[in-house]
């Protein structure tokens, strides 16, 4: 970016800059080619900004993205969301309720102090003690019953019951320095750790506690404008290709693409679907795309009194499995992907794509409008009924357009469907009050395994187990809950996968949550850069490389 300053100096200081322009433009082109000998800077245009730099403040995508550059976790996930070692070199289940983690030796924090087991203990202790946290990481630490540290590089985590998801859950939060936060004496207590005071979110935002073990050090942060990171020369892993990384939030789609085309930024997140063809044909832009862990689905409510169905004398037709099957058969997923998502999505036949843990290759979905009409007639609705489909219009890619298409497909089999599309904050409030008989939404499985959508979307809401947190359909299948119970208590990975596959089969047969498509995440960058697209949708500067 130093070059741009020179370009500007030309423009601003010389009264006769016009004849210089071709030369300046040529210089600008040269600047686009990364030169390895110079100080390398990567500028990223992001689609959303973290709400704080505090790694434990808000369990939210952009915050985790920012966190992963500075703070690391015991276990991490690769681009396909498979677990891999990070600060822990290895881990194993000692018995049903004990996990042992062997820590990497010689890892240093950005302030030069050593990383030890105490930093993990302190982090787990601090997570429930973040003031004003709108969404806490306690969901991922509540399984921990006790922590033992026999030596500074070994951690034994005890869980109250068999807890196969523990390593995955430990991959979700970053570890802060106990020494920097003054917590070297804090010990773990399930009922609540004791400390004189806990670090404030402000202390992270102003940079004073931004001391992690990650590949980048925090340099500066201006909310709404930019976050600047610089390379950590003492990093234990492979050195990133960039001396400086700048993250700039450009939340509007058009301007983000323009910033890439203008050369202001080197890489952008999620260019809008309708611009992708154009970017493909641009000479100096490269694209990377990957199937994400997010499925877009329709949820069919089985409330006794349907909130948005009329023409059935107050009965809820969706209680009849034949009607639900008919609606599933009415949806032409290929058409949605091709015409509305312009190919930037994959038709979905269950809640996670093939290759993810728990995907059942035997589960399929079909499209058959005639069969659907026949099923409706058998169920006693030969003339169909009237339905209102709820959808957000600014949350998922083309969400309201997809809902419009679904409404037409439903109407074709006789279920006259209207779409109620509202902005996300209104939609989610209404949906959570079960004000829609059918709604469109999305689910991203943070854990990358099938238990996540099953547990949240379709299991019976049971507070103590954390089941059914996003089940707004009033559906309850005790047998499915039982299958989940067993799966979530099975530490053996191969056995658990079989159990989850059986559970997803049962859930799909119920036709309560009807999958439409998997979102595809796209990154656009300057030609000459390469990025391995990630299923978890994070943009990680340490994984962006100048092509060889």
């Amino acid at each position: 970016m130093a070059l741009r300053d020179r370009r500007l100096a030309d423009v601003l200081c010389s009264g006769t800059f016009k004849p210089l322009l071709p030369a300046v433009a040529a210089l600008a082109l040269l600047a686009a080619v990364p030169a390895p000998s110079q100080a390398a800077t990567l500028t990223v245009g992001t689609s959303a900004e973290p709400s704080a730099l505090d790694p434990h403040y808000h369990n939210l995508g952009p915050n985790t993205r920012a966190r992963k550059h500075v703070f690391e976790s015991l276990v991490s996930m690769d681009a396909k969301m498979r677990l891999q070692p990070e600060l822990a070199e290895s881990w194993r289940a000692v018995d049903e309720t004990t996990w042992e983690f062997k820590l990497r030796k010689g890892v240093k924090f950005h302030d030069g102090s050593d990383f030890t087991a105490q930093d993990f203990v302190y982090t787990v202790c601090r997570i429930p003690n973040v003031a004003n946290s709108p969404s806490s990481f306690t969901v991922y630490t509540k399984g921990i019953a006790a922590i033992e540290t026999p030596d500074p590089h070994t951690i034994l985590v005890k869980t109250g019951k068999p807890y196969p998801l523990l390593p995955m859950e430990l991959s979700t939060f970053g570890i802060i320095s106990a020494k920097a936060a003054g917590g070297t004496a804090v010990t773990f207590d399930k009922a609540g750790c004791k400390a004189d005071s806990w670090p404030t979110t402000q202390a992270f935002n102003d940079g004073s506690l931004m001391i992690g073990t990650g590949p980048f050090k925090h340099k500066s942060y201006t909310k709404g404008d930019r976050q600047v990171l610089e390379r950590n020369p003492g990093y234990w892993g492979p050195q990133p290709a960039w001396d400086t990384v700048v993250f700039r939030p450009i939340t509007s789609d058009g301007p983000r693409v323009a910033a890439l085309l203008a050369g202001d930024v080197d890489l952008i997140e999620s260019p809008p679907v309708q611009d992708i063809e154009r970017l493909k044909s641009a000479p100096n832009v490269a694209l990377a795309q990957a199937q994400s862990n997010r499925v877009i689905y329709l949820a069919l409510g089985v409330q006794d009194t349907p909130p948005t169905i009329t023409g059935t004398d107050g009965k809820n037709p969706l209680k009849d499995p034949r009607v639900r099957k008919a609606l599933s058969l009415a949806v032409d997923r290929d058409a949605i992907v091709k015409r509305i998502m312009l190919g930037v999505a994959e038709p979905a036949n269950q809640y996670l794509p093939a290759g993810f843990y728990g995907n059942n290759p035997e589960v399929t979905v079909a499209t058959d409008a005639n069969k659907a009409k026949q099923l409706l007639a058998e169920a006693g609705y030969p003339k169909g009924f009237q339905l209102t489909l709820g959808t957000p219009n600014d949350r998922y890619i083309n969400d309201d357009k997809v809902a419009q298409a679904v409404a037409q497909m439903f109407t074709r089999i006789g279920v006259q469907t209207q779409v109620d599309a509202t902005t996300a904050n209104v939609f989610f409030s209404k949906r959570n009050k079960q004000e829609y008989s059918v709604f469109l939404a999305g689910w991203g499985a943070d854990s990358g395994e099938m238990s996540s959508p099953l547990k949240a979307l379709i299991a019976t809401p049971i507070k103590e187990k954390g089941y059914g947190t996003t089940n707004y359909t009033s559906y309850s299948d005790p047998e499915l809950d039982g299958m989940l119970d067993t799966a979530l208590a099975t530490v053996d990975d191969a056995k658990r996968e079989k159990l989850l596959q059986a559970a997803v089969k049962r859930a799909m047969d119920a036709d309560i949550i009807i999958p439409l498509h998997y979102e595809v995440t796209v990154w656009a960058m300057k030609k000459g850069l390469s990025y391995e697209p990630r299923a978890d949708q994070y943009t990680l500067a340490q994984k962006v490389t100048p092509a060889k």
């Binding site: 741009r4 300053d5 500007l8 100096a9 423009v11 601003l12 322009l21 300046v24 433009a25 709400s51 704080a52 505090d54 403040y57 808000h58 369990n59 939210l60 003031a131 004003n132 946290s133 709108p134 969404s135 806490s136 306690t138 969901v139 979110t201 201006t222 909310k223 709404g224 404008d225 700039r248 939030p249 450009i250 939340t251 509007s252 058009g254 301007p255 323009a258 910033a259 085309l261 203008a262 050369g263 202001d264 600014d394 902005t423 996300a424 904050n425 209104v426 989610f428 409030s429 209404k430 959570n432 689910w443 943070d446 996540s452 949240a456 809401p461 507070k463 954390g466 947190t469 996003t470």
Partner: protein, 325 residues
Amino acid sequence: MLVFILRRLAQSAVVVVAMSVLVFAGIFAIGNPIDVLISPEADEIERAAAIARLGLDRPMHEQFMRFVDGALGGDLGTSFVHGVPALGLVLQRFPATLELALCAMLVAVVLGIPLGLWAGLKPDSMAGRVIMTGSILGFSLPTFWVGMMLIMAFAVTLGWLPAGGRGETASLFGVQWSVLTADGLAHLILPAVNLALFKLSLVIRLARAGTREVALQDYVKFARAKGLAPARIVGVHILKNIMIPVVTVLGLELGSVIAFSVVTESVFAWPGMGKLLIDSILQLDRPVVIAYLLVTVLLFVVINLIVDLVYSLLDPRIRLGGGRA
């Protein structure tokens, strides 16, 4: 004069109270912030805990009283999303918006008044017609479209200027300003021009209408008959007399430019208050929305006060009496 100012402040206080009630009830009606904020993976226990942390478990009137309580002590609450004081969050973004608005107004005044004068003095000339046609375009083209076109032309195709963001800043009085660095200035040009376009057209039209009216007045004819230099006639006798409507409108417009430059700030990724407001409304971040609107009301009050004071400077016949406000 003092009475006048005091009366103004009292009126403003009523506005502030009425508005905070309206905004509070309005946002309350839209939905529950926790539905937007919380991670979908969170369970019921965590959800209840977060609701309690943010104080959303209390009934609305109780939440409002807590807000009033804090507000009287100068604390407008803590942002639900960012976890920092809402007022600080708004004020932190204020300089960026202020400098953008002032630059836009500067462009509008520096270009608009001479162009309007010209068009008013020579309404039938080619230049006069071109100016007036141009001002119609400035009025009617949507800001976001013009913004995108400016980016496409000057950033993407020509590569002269950056496409967005604030660029480098330098510190003055402990606040970061873009105008002080070459890089920052370059980042400022496109958004300022985009924001200025509408105001520019407005100023041109006002100045032209005023000029045409004033130019026919007796005192201008008399000045001309006396043999005063044309420059003095235009510069003193005409210019001063067309300024009252221009100052009124500019005052009002400055307020609206500062408060509602949302579109320009979004298109150019300018880290100002407008973008903060939109994001906060979408995330139902009630404290920030209220803090923002309170700041805006205060801003309008102060600007209007200044406008009234400027009147009396421009036209000594105007008195700021306590009898009427």
